[in-house]
């Protein structure tokens, strides 16, 4: 049906049965008893969750399931009521967000946070860490950081080219459209040379043809040895690139497993996917009679 090659998936990620909270062969993130309430509403209540290293994991679930809140807790943007979690063996509870990013766990936001009065290129260069010019004394002596600055600029341009933003490098970030800001944010996150990239609805509002070329870049991150954890409502994207899928509902992890298995679970279909996932809505609504094999191609 499709002329897209399904990329090679990482397998054998878990130990034992694929069920909520199952152990992974090589976990990069381990979460234990993390709970967060807002007033009377329990937004997140995760007993145990492990995210596999070197793979692409998708976090899916209905609106209000607690996906973004979990992201906020794991990256230090919010503090949980209880719980511990570790990243690459280091305990992260209580570590502020900027340190989490320096440790190699970097995230993007559903509602983008580009610095609108800096240019696209400046936004990118800001993402890089360990810059010599960050220290006050060094900043006064350009010869100390000029070379590094040039190298960063090259790297930034390389990334911008991948994200089709290179022509916009001297424009203010404020002038970008919503979709382009999403791309800038993702590119900027990669400037930090992360080990774990967390993307919150990276493709929402990005047009479908561009999404497809970006998926290749996400897959490349995996090939370069990075781990990716992302939240997304676009199930075609999830099915195409995810090695592992975690399903959340009402703050809890309700299912886990490889995409093809998880998306066939009745509970996931009922709560989230709906019965018409693979059906043409023209047929469902009776607007067209039946689709022939020819037409689906």
């Amino acid at each position: 049906m499709s002329n897209n090659q399904t990329p090679e998936k990482a397998t054998n990620l878990h130990i034992g049965k694929a069920e909520p909270g199952c152990k992974k062969v090589d976990p990069i993130l381990v979460i234990d008893n993390v709970k967060k309430s807002f007033g009377g509403l329990t937004a997140v209540e995760v007993a145990h969750l492990e995210i596999p290293n070197g793979a692409i994991t998708a976090l899916i679930g209905p609106n209000g399931a607690g996906k973004t809140t979990l992201f906020n807790l794991l990256t230090g943007f919010d503090t949980p009521d209880t719980g511990t979690w570790s990243f690459a063996g280091k305990d992260l509870a209580g570590v502020p967000s900027f340190k989490v990013a320096q440790m190699g766990q970097v995230r993007t936001f559903q509602l983008t946070k580009a610095l609108s009065l800096l240019t696209v290129l400046e936004n990118m260069k800001l993402g890089a860490k360990n810059q010599t010019g960050e220290k006050l004394i060094n900043a006064l002596i350009p010869s100390l950081w000029r070379k590094q600055d040039k190298a960063l600029e090259l790297r930034a341009m390389e990334l911008l080219k991948k994200f089709k933003l290179d022509a916009k490098k001297d424009d203010f970030a404020a002038s970008l459209s919503g979709g382009q800001r999403k791309l800038l944010e993702m590119a900027r996150a990669l400037m930090t040379d992360p080990t774990l990239v967390m993307l919150d609805e990276p493709m929402a509002g990005v047009n479908p043809a561009l999404t497809q070329s970006l998926l290749e870049h996400v897959l490349n991150l995996k090939n370069e040895g990075m781990t990716v954890l992302f939240v997304e409502h676009d199930m075609h994207m999830v099915r195409h690139i995810a090695d592992w899928v975690v399903v959340m509902a009402e703050g809890k992890v309700v299912a886990e497993g490889p995409p093809d298995t998880v998306m066939k679970e009745q509970a996931v279909i009922d709560a989230y996917l709906g019965a018409h996932q693979d059906t043409d809505l023209g047929v469902v609504t009776g607007r067209i009679d039946i689709i022939t094999e020819e037409e689906t191609k």
Binding site: S2, P208, A209, Y272, D280, G282, K297
Partner: protein
């Protein structure tokens, strides 16, 4: 067939000197469901807003049942039969469902009962929960209230701005089925959507906007399989 909406050579924009729409053409015949898709910033929402008088029309014409309506105010347009459902903030959260529906027909309250019957014949669920506050509803349910409210004035055409935005897959499908149900009840609909594939599946005809112009048009089915549309916009993922 009666032409309900006829937009020709429309030029419109927000900032002085910057046009978002650069000569857009679009029409809708009675009973049609029209889809509008296109990349970010192509002018999809701007087109709907200009038809509804929220964006000033600089050039071109908009006709409703043959009568020129460009330049009219939204309240005048509502009484002439244009219904609009914005993407966000489309219900009054502190009012009940019943009050929200009443707001939809404040210009002609005597028809309330008759119209309520029509709306609840499409959305039976609204009729059962008239006393519930709209603010306590989920995103998908709010969308239904907004649709119900817009239908109260018996519009000749209903304009929908991204009815599936921000909803999870199952709720998105429900939203599209709802739009299709409204259309089947005889209401002409013009819908802007990001979820292009779903939109084209239920549309009678559709337009692909690009940089403020109608780049490609055809039946929903034609566009779904059009190599140019696939290359420019749809991509091949999910086929």
């Amino acid at each position: 067939m009666t032409r309900v909406v006829d937009v020709s050579n429309l030029v419109a924009g927000y900032l002085p000197g910057v046009n978002i729409l650069n000569g857009t053409n679009l029409y809708a015949d009675k009973g049609e469901l029209i889809g509008i898709i296109g990349p970010n910033g192509a002018g999809k929402s701007t087109l709907l807003k200009s038809i509804f008088g929220l964006v000033k029309v600089r050039e071109g014409s908009i006709k409703l049942n043959g009568e020129e309506i460009a330049g009219l105010k939204p309240n005048q347009l509502v009484s002439k039969g244009v219904g609009f459902i914005p993407q966000n903030n489309n219900v009054f959260p502190s009012l009940t469902i019943e009050e929200n529906l009443q707001m939809g027909i404040y210009q002609d309250p005597s028809k309330y009962n008759e119209r309520l019957e029509f709306v609840t014949s499409i959305f039976a669920e609204l009729g059962k929960r008239l006393k519930q506050r709209a603010g306590s509803l989920s995103g998908g349910e709010r969308q239904m209230v907004a649709m119900g409210r817009a239908l109260m004035m018996d519009p000749a055409v209903l304009l929908l701005d991204e009815p599936s935005a921000g909803l999870s897959p199952v709720r998105q499908d429900e939203a599209f089925i709802r739009v299709s149900d409204i259309n089947k009840a005889g209401v002409t609909c013009i819908m802007v959507e990001q979820n292009a594939r779903r939109c084209l599946q239920i549309s009678d005809r559709a337009y692909v906007l690009d940089q403020g112009k109608d780049a490609v048009t055809g039946t929903g089915r034609e566009l779904l399989n059009d190599p140019q549309v696939i290359g420019l916009y749809l991509g091949t993922l999910g086929t």
